[in-house]
C-alpha cells in the first residue's frame, strides 16, 4: 500500500540537512571539541546560501556561500575556545543564539523572496543529496584511513599526548571547527534553497540539535551518522506517510516514533558496550576540554 521506494526517496531528502550537520560535527568532536553552535551555523548557512543563490541566480553558488559563511561564523567559536580558551559549552550555546539573531537581522530584506529553482541531479534526486551520500565514505576514509585523520583523532583522544608528539593541537582543532561550520552551513542551506525555497526566520527549527544527538547516537562513526540521519529522517517521513495514507495508528505514537527509536538504539548501543568483549568506541577522550600547553 505504501511504496517503499517513494518513502526512501523522501527519506533521502529529509535526512540531508541533519546528515551534513552531523558529519561536520562528527569531525569536530573527534578532534575533541564540543560545538553546540550547530543550529547557529546552520541558520547562518541557510541565510547566506539563500542570499547568494538569489543574487547570483545559481543554487550552487548559494551552497558555496553557505559553506563559507558557516565556516566564518564557526571561526568565532574557534577564536573563543581555542585562542581565548573560553568554555566550549557556553561558547557553543552563545554561537547558536548569536547565529539565530544575526540571521534574523540580516534576513529582514530577504523575506518574501523566492529562491531560483534547482535542477534535479541523476535519478531526479537533488545534487546536494548525492553530495551528502558521497561525504559519508569520504569522512569515514579521512578519519580511519588517512594519516591526517589519525592525527586528528589523536588530538581528540588525548591532546596532551598529541602535543607532546609535536602536533599543533589548536591549529588542528580550528581546522576541524571550520569544516564543521562549512558542513552545517550546507545543511542549513539545503533547507532554504532546496526544501522551502524561501528565507524565513528560525527556519532550521531545531535541526542542529538533532544533528548533535545523532553524533552521540552514531557512537562517533561516519556510517553511524548516516544510519542515525536515515533512521530519524525515515521515521519522520514514514509517520507522515502513514498519516497521509489514513492508516489508523494513533498519531501521537507516530509523532513520538523518531524519538522513541533514538532512545531504543541508544539503549542497545550502551548494552552492547557493557556486555560485549569488544567494547564499542565511546566518546573521544578529550571531548569538550580546552587544551593549554602550559597546564
Amino acid at each position: 500500500m505504501i511504496d517503499p521506494l517513494s518513502v526512501f526517496l523522501l527519506l533521502l531528502a529529509a535526512a540531508t540537512p541533519i546528515l551534513f550537520a552531523a558529519l561536520g560535527e562528527l569531525v569536530v568532536e573527534r578532534a575533541g571539541v564540543l560545538n553546540l553552535g550547530v543550529e547557529g551555523m546552520m541558520i547562518t548557512g541557510a541565510l547566506a546560501g539563500f542570499a547568494a543563490a538569489y543574487v547570483t541566480g545559481s543554487p550552487f553558488a548559494g551552497f558555496l556561500a553557505a559553506a563559507l559563511a558557516g565556516a566564518a561564523i564557526a571561526m568565532l567559536f574557534a577564536a573563543l575556545t581555542q585562542i581565548l580558551l573560553a568554555n566550549q559549552v557556553a561558547s557553543g550555546l552563545a554561537l547558536t543564539l548569536f547565529g539565530l539573531g544575526l540571521a534574523a537581522l540580516f534576513g529582514k530584506p530577504l523575506e518574501g523572496i523566492k529562491a531560483p529553482a534547482m535542477m534535479p541531479g541523476p535519478l531526479r534526486i537533488n545534487w546536494i543529496v548525492w553530495l551528502g551520500l558521497v561525504m559519508v565514505p569520504l569522512v569515514w576514509w579521512f578519519l580511519n584511513r588517512s594519516r591526517t585523520g589519525l592525527i586528528l583523532r589523536g588530538v581528540g583522544e588525548n591532546h596532551d599526548a598529541a602535543h607532546a608528539l609535536g602536533y599543533p593541537v589548536h591549529a588542528i582543532r580550528i581546522a576541524a571547527i571550520g569544516f564543521g561550520g562549512a558542513m552545517a552551513g550546507v545543511g542549513g542551506a539545503f533547507i532554504s534553497i532546496a526544501t522551502v525555497l524561501q528565507w524565513t526566520e528560525g527556519m532550521t527549527a531545531g535541526a542542529g540539535w538533532i544533528a548533535l544527538a545523532i553524533v552521540v547516537f552514531s557512537n562517533w562513526t561516519a556510517p553511524g551518522v548516516l544510519a542515525g540521519a536515515w533512521l530519524f529522517g525515515g521515521v519522520t517521513v514514514l509517520q507522515l506517510r502513514l498519516q497521509a495514507a489514513g492508516i489508523r495508528v494513533p498519531v501521537q505514537l507516530l509523532s513520538m516514533a523518531p524519538y522513541l527509536a533514538t532512545i531504543i538504539v541508544l539503549v542497545l548501543i550502551s548494552a552492547r558496550q557493557k556486555y560485549s568483549r569488544r567494547a564499542g568506541r565511546a566518546a573521544p577522550g578529550s571531548l569538550g576540554q580546552n587544551f593549554h600547553a602550559l597546564r
Binding site: 527549527a205 531545531g206 506517510r241 498519516q243 497521509a244 489514513g246 489508523r248 498519531v251
Partner: protein, 359 residues
C-alpha cells in the same frame, strides 16, 4: 523622558490638579501590541502588524503605538505586558492564544488598562477577546480545491488538533464534496505552527499519496514550494503568499485585523470601549480571499466568489445541515446551522473524512 519633558513636569507639579486633565486631552492615546513571531514572518504576525499600521494611518497623531515582537508564550509574555502597561499604554493587544493567562494576570493588576486578546476565551471587565471565522474562507478554497483536483484527493496539513483547525478541515471537505462528490481528504498533523522542513515533508508525503491539491493550516510557504515541484496546487495561509502566484498558489485566505483594530481604538478614543467577544468573518472584512489566479478556470472562480458573497451577506452558513459526524451519528438536521458554541468546541470530523482525529 528627556530633560525638557522633565522640566515641564516639574514646573507643572504645583498646579497638577488643574494642569493634568488639560494635558491628558492633548496627549495621544498609547496603544501597545505583543506579537508571538517577528513582524516579518510573512504570515500571522505580519498581518497583525499591517493592521496596526493601518490603525495608525487612520488616527494619526491621536495614537501612539509600541510593539514588542517575538514574545514567547508563557512567563515572558507577562513581563512584556507589564512593561507595556507601566509605559502608559491604555489599550494593549495580545495577539496569540498562548498569552491568555498572562493577559488575565496582568489585567487584574492594571484595572484601568484595557486588554484585547486574540483567539482566546477568557474575558474580564477590562479584557476583550477577538477572533476570525477562518472556516468561512476555508469553505471558499475548499470549493476551488474540489473543482481543481484531478486525482480526487486533496490533502490538508494540520498544525494541532484544536477546534479552530478542525473547523477548517471540516469546512474545506464539506465544500469540496459539495462540488465533487468523489473527493477524498487526507490529513497530516505536523504538530507545529511553524516548521518549514517538516511542513515540506508533510506535503511530500501527501503528494506521494496521490494528492494534487494541498491546503495548509501551518504558517510557512514550504508546502507551496513542494507543491510547485510536483505540479500540484495550494493556497496562501494567513497572508497572501503572493510570490507563489499564479501557480501553485491559486488563491489564499488573508487575516485582515485592520477594521477591528480601527474600531476598537476608535472606541477607546470615544470612551465607549467595553469588554466584548468578537468573532468576525468574511462579511466583516476580517477574513479575505486573496486573488484567485488564472490557473483556476473562470467558472470555478465565479462559483467560489458567489459562495464568498453568500457567506458575506449571511445568506449561507458553511456548517448547514444535513450533516453527520464521522462516526455516523447525526449532527445537524436539514437546514439547521451550527451554533458558535458547537464550533468553538468542535472535536470531531464530519461524515466522509476517514482520517483519524487525535483527541
Amino acid at each position: 523622558m528627556n530633560r525638557r519633558e522633565l522640566l515641564v513636569s516639574v514646573a507643572a507639579l504645583p498646579a497638577i490638579g488643574l494642569a493634568a486633565p488639560a494635558l491628558a486631552q492633548t496627549e495621544p492615546l498609547k496603544v501597545g501590541f505583543i506579537y508571538v513571531g517577528p513582524v516579518g514572518d510573512g504570515g500571522w504576525t505580519y498581518q497583525h502588524d499591517q493592521a496596526r499600521q493601518a490603525m495608525v494611518a487612520e488616527y494619526g497623531d491621536k495614537v501612539e503605538t509600541t510593539f514588542i515582537e517575538s514574545v514567547p508564550e508563557g512567563a515572558d509574555a507577562e513581563r512584556a505586558l507589564t512593561q507595556l502597561a507601566l509605559a502608559g499604554n491604555k489599550l494593549i493587544f495580545a495577539t496569540s492564544f498562548g498569552y491568555m493567562d498572562a493577559v488575565m494576570n496582568v489585567a487584574a493588576k492594571f484595572p484601568d488598562v484595557k486588554f484585547e486578546h486574540a483567539t482566546g476565551y477568557k474575558r474580564a471587565e477590562n479584557v476583550a477577546t477577538y477572533d476570525a471565522r477562518f472556516y468561512e474562507g476555508r469553505a471558499v478554497i475548499g470549493t476551488i480545491a474540489g473543482r481543481m483536483t484531478r486525482s480526487n484527493k486533496i490533502g490538508y496539513i494540520g498544525s494541532f488538533p484544536i477546534p479552530e483547525v478542525v473547523q477548517g478541515i471540516n469546512s474545506s471537505y464539506i465544500h469540496a464534496r459539495k462540488v465533487n462528490p468523489d473527493v477524498e481528504i487526507k490529513v497530516v498533523w505536523a504538530y507545529s505552527w511553524f516548521d518549514p522542513a517538516k511542513e515540506a515533508d508533510a506535503a511530500a508525503a501527501l503528494i506521494a499519496e496521490g494528492v494534487d491539491v494541498i491546503l495548509q493550516h501551518t504558517d510557512s510557504t514550504a508546502p507551496l514550494a513542494k507543491a510547485q515541484e510536483a505540479g500540484a496546487i495550494g493556497f496562501g495561509q494567513a497572508s497572501d503568499m503572493a510570490n507563489f502566484k499564479p501557480t501553485p498558489r491559486v488563491s489564499s485566505i488573508i487575516d485582515n485585523w485592520a477594521p477591528y483594530y480601527i474600531e476598537r481604538v476608535g472606541a477607546m478614543l470615544d470612551g465607549t470601549w467595553e469588554s466584548t467577544a468578537t468573532w468576525a468573518g468574511i462579511g466583516d472584512g476580517e477574513v479575505e480571499i486573496g486573488e484567485i489566479t488564472d490557473a483556476v478556470p473562470a467558472e470555478v472562480k465565479q462559483e467560489a466568489l458567489a459562495l464568498k458573497d453568500k457567506i458575506a451577506s449571511g445568506e449561507y452558513h458553511p456548517f448547514t445541515g444535513p450533516l453527520n459526524k464521522a462516526d455516523g451519528s447525526a449532527w445537524l438536521a436539514d437546514g439547521e446551522t451550527a451554533t458558535d458554541e458547537e464550533l468553538s468546541g468542535m472535536d470531531f470530523f464530519v461524515e466522509g473524512i476517514t482520517a483519524e482525529l487525535p483527541q
